[in-house]
Symmetry: C2
Subunit: 234 residues, 2 copies
């Protein structure tokens, strides 16, 4: 059960996926390149960084829909016209953030899952990957979680599909564990809902965990303990 400690920790995760500060912004720019009017990459990435960070800050304060582009202009020190060269429209600004997350998710933990491993290993891997990536991109995931209401139907659907996908993934692993006899019988739906909610809590209530000085490794240990106690046969 604890075979992953030290062997698959946060530091190793960060060094094995493209999630350094530079790489993240580079990836964000690449994903949205064709929508952005500014052509010089170095300039564009720097300004996007400023804009997105300011968006997160203001959205935390008053919510995305109450954040005006004049607020954003003031916070970034850019003019209204400049902003529009980067974001296209207010709606597109929100959509760009939302589209980025599944992209990074695939990049970082999409292909790592292996059905030949034991259900416990698969489950732990999924949980760890989830916590690690949301730890690296906490403001992004927090924004996406809080500001789902303002999206076009198509992007809203994309968000729903992604959530469903991860729930099915969880459900399958639990089912496999039951079949192999390593997990006791349980309500697969309720169990995956619980795991999802524990994973979400890490980035939704991040401030509280920071205040209590809980780091992501001990949070993972806690989840694994709770799920283990509940699922594993004794």
């Amino acid at each position: 059960m604890n075979q992953w400690q030290g062997e698959n920790n946060f530091a190793i995760f960060k060094s094995s996926v493209p999630i350094s500060n530079q790489q993240v912004w580079q990836a964000f720019y690449q994903l949205h390149k064709e929508k952005i009017q500014v052509q010089k990459e170095k300039v564009a990435i720097e300004k996007l960084k400023t804009i997105i960070k300011a968006t997160f800050k203001l959205s935390n304060q008053k919510g995305f829909s109450l954040m005006s582009l004049r607020d954003l202009s003031q916070e970034t020190g850019m003019s209204m016209g400049s902003l529009y060269a980067y974001i296209g429209s207010k709606t597109q600004l929100a959509e760009m953030v939302h589209q980025f997350l599944p992209h990074m998710f695939d990049l970082c933990i999409g292909e790592q899952l292996d059905h030949k491993e034991s259900p416990q290993q698969q489950l732990n891997k999924l949980i760890r990957g989830h916590i690690f990536i949301t730890e690296c991109l906490q403001p992004w995931f927090f924004f996406a979680f809080m500001e789902t209401k303002h999206l076009s139907r198509s992007i809203k659907q994309l968000a729903k599909d992604n959530e469903a996908k991860s729930e099915i993934l969880l459900g399958n692993i639990i089912e496999q564990g039951e079949k192999e006899g390593v997990f006791s019988q349980s309500d697969k739906f309720l169990t995956s809902m619980m795991i999802k909610s524990l994973l979400q809590n890490w980035y939704v209530k991040r401030n509280k965990y920071k205040q209590s000085k809980t780091d992501c490794e001990s949070y993972i240990r806690f989840i694994e303990q709770v799920i283990g106690n509940y699922l594993e046969k004794s």
Copy 2:
């Protein structure tokens, strides 16, 4: 552990606290009486019902800040002027909902807790009460959870205080259980965070639970099982 089943179920809860449809709206009117310009109680209650329900519906669709009072006017069939006789202002409309929840909470489960009972009993009572009341007032709690950003500082503080209160309550019960030796040693902070998040999930993701035909009694049983497995000495 299962002594409460049948003896303290949802039906009994509903009949022992003032939470019938009529009583809820009556209580809401009483709490905000002095802010409302319309004097005839029967008329006021009926219109408030219409307004609040429409607010919940529109907020679910596009979020409170994107809901205009013209939307609300159309949805309720009332004129702008009439609306203002009931809500005072858009901000006050949101605040009235937020203020109502701790009020109902106190009314329904505030005084039922008894420190002489066993920690297990106290914990189960708290969990059951929480699920039951959020089951009865699901749209209210959902609205309050999603739309915290638009509040005045004072009401935001009130919301924070209330959350802190319930976390301390949980922490104390767990601590008492540890001292009495009925709970194993655990991280009290992480444990209460988990319980809170399980409780919140019931009204935040209500649609998903409805789709899978999970009722509140079986959800409570699930929580008690998970927490029991984790906390109770074997």
